[in-house]
Symmetry: C2
Subunit: 342 residues, 2 copies
DNA sequence: TAAGTTTTCTCAAACGTTTGCGCAATCTTA
DNA sequence: TAAGATTGCGCAAACGTTTGAGAAAACTTA
């Protein structure tokens, strides 16, 4: 039933030559004669020879595989990312070893170990929300396995990363709303622990001050990104002395919850109150009541750049031994108006 | 800078014992004395020993890795699936090698080769829409690499698969609409080439005849699943002598396009015309004008069962050599009413 | 204390491939 | 035709681990 795969040894035996000759012949090594090469290749084809990668990986100490650790594959942002990563890796003849941390620090550490043991050539990581310490990544450096972080990056020094700067997009968003005549703008932000929250808030403040409006801290509220949390944030904002006529929300989910709540309170979306959000969900296009605009974060672009960076690092590593600089690729977020669909 | 990882050999040398003893000690082999075992384990820990998996893979001819080939990771159905697959594999200590075919038959074949060369222990596949021949899968059987197909399964014999039967759900859907008083029900189906289209149509017909209504073929229209195609299908249906008051659509995207078109034509959704669809998009919950009900296909459940089946096959293989039966796991689709969200 | 048991460990092969080095055969050139 | 250059190939080690078979050491028992 289950035939054993052909090996180089067998080919050598049949042809009565050495395995090294077979190996070299198959790799078009110059020191092998034309005829032998042809004979070897022919027989290899006939016997359906397939090089045993596990042997090669072992021999070369290289697996042509990159590890990818993402928080949640079911989140649209990350599923778009993994799609792009796979694509980019495939184009450069690399394979993807995939794992998700479910935003669990302990699991993330285990996965890093596992990836190391699998001898991946490099690692692509978007860190878990709950990861506080980063030694598990440090340990990879010792083994010379490069890591590139993307989107969710740890706040430590000397790392390679690709990330999206939320400030620009936020500034654009606020400017856009101001231009539309809004003067009282609220921000439903994420948890304070997130870098992304910080960037959004800073963009918010910057836009205000640039427009000579004073920043009103009561119009900014943090939220845990759940529906309940969003409702509470909305209640807070709508009870405010200065009731916002426009609200910037941390992401599309928050926007959806907020819009739902606003409609429940009989507010007309786009008239009584208008929303701008950060793009996570492609389906926003199909919604009837949706944010007027979204700050695009380019998940696939980020993922692509991150993969390319990682693969560059991998090939550099084998070329030279010197320590290269740290790549810091910043993609600017960008406001896009959401088109009406009816 | 880059230290070489510790090996079993080094441990052996330091302790002046043989590598086999070290290996066995680390594996708690009974024939190793308590003290030696303790000594070995201590030193291993101190030296930060990590077994070189590539060597083990090579040695054992097993990689504890499963290959997964999906058509499109950016499609919600498949991203939910890969999330569940990774989860299930992780729980049984397997790792996932990921690739997407982009519905391209040639690429699919290349990927199967690549997976074979990587010596995956098994393969999980949802086939490309455009795949017509299946020898590339046959070739894996020779090497005793089990394959489990899921959701999109080839129409050939002697394979393991997990799939969702669309007929039941479709019958339920039609019954549901009939019960709501509809008598003229349309079906915007997918391309005739797809098994899924066939099942939907058969369910459609079966439900009609069970309710002693004669099946009207003019109310069924095939479509290529694009927006343009959907618009054409809608035009056709709305021009029909018997104008449907309810429409079953092939998937949520088609439903969205159809609803958009219907509203453009000033039809009131839920009154003039009602929709039932097949669930792909979690976001349907957030929509204002949406199908009243969806036929749930349980992507994560399918993926989970498929992974478990594959891993069972893999462990069986090493246990016994006999050829086992072919697993055919059918999950019944199920109608779920979509709750109102305002 | 010698023989038999049991415990603990070692030897060496094997997995399939790559590659540095050396050697033989062939070809070149004066 | 002898010396050197070139071409074509083989030898053997190496990568790190597992494992069957056997050897040595320790412990029993009569």
């Amino acid at each position: 039933m289950s035939e054993k795969p052909t090996t180089i040894k067998e080919i050598a035996q049949i042809l009565k030559i050495s395995t090294s000759t077979v190996s070299r012949a198959l790799h078009d090594h110059p020191s092998i004669g034309k005829e032998t090469r042809a004979k070897v290749k022919k027989l290899a084809k006939d016997l359906n020879y397939e090089p045993n990668q596990t042997a090669i990986f072992f021999q070369k100490g290289k697996t042509y595989t990159i590890g990818v650790i993402l928080p949640e594959l079911s989140e649209v942002f990350f599923s778009s990312a993994i799609s792009a990563i796979e694509e980019a890796a495939y184009n450069r003849n690399y394979t993807v070893l995939l794992a998700q941390s479910h935003d669990n620090e302990i699991k993330e550490k285990q996965l890093v170990e596992k990836m190391k043991n699998h001898r991946v050539d490099g690692l692509l990581v978007s860190i878990s929300k709950n990861t506080k310490s980063f030694e598990h990544f440090e340990s990879l450096k010792k083994y010379n396995i490069p890591i590139v972080f993307f989107d969710r990056i740890p706040q430590i020094q000397n790392i390679h990363y690709v990330a999206c700067n939320m400030e620009t997009g936020t500034v654009e968003a606020v400017n856009y709303l101001l231009k539309k005549g809004h003067r009282t703008i609220g921000l439903i932000n994420g948890p304070t622990t997130l870098l992304a929250s910080k960037e959004r808030k800073e963009g918010f403040i910057k836009a205000m001050s640039k427009n000579r409006l004073k920043f009103d801290p009561t119009l900014v509220v943090n939220c845990d990104l759940t529906e309940q949390g969003t409702v509470e944030a909305m209640e807070y904002l709508l009870k405010n002395k200065r009731k916002p006529t426009a609200i910037v929300t941390f992401n599309d989910y928050v926007a959806l919850y907020a819009i739902k709540y606003a409609r429940l309170k009989k507010l007309e979306i786009g008239k009584d109150v208008e929303f701008v959000s950060y793009a996570n969900l492609p389906l926003i296009d199909y919604m009837d009541y949706k944010p007027v605009a979204s700050v695009e974060q380019f998940p696939t672009l980020q993922a692509q750049k991150a993969t390319d960076t990682l693969l560059d690092l991998i090939s550099q590593r084998s070329d030279s031994q010197e320590i290269q600089a740290f790549y810091k690729v910043i993609i600017e977020s960008q406001l896009v108006e959401n088109t009406k669909n009816n």
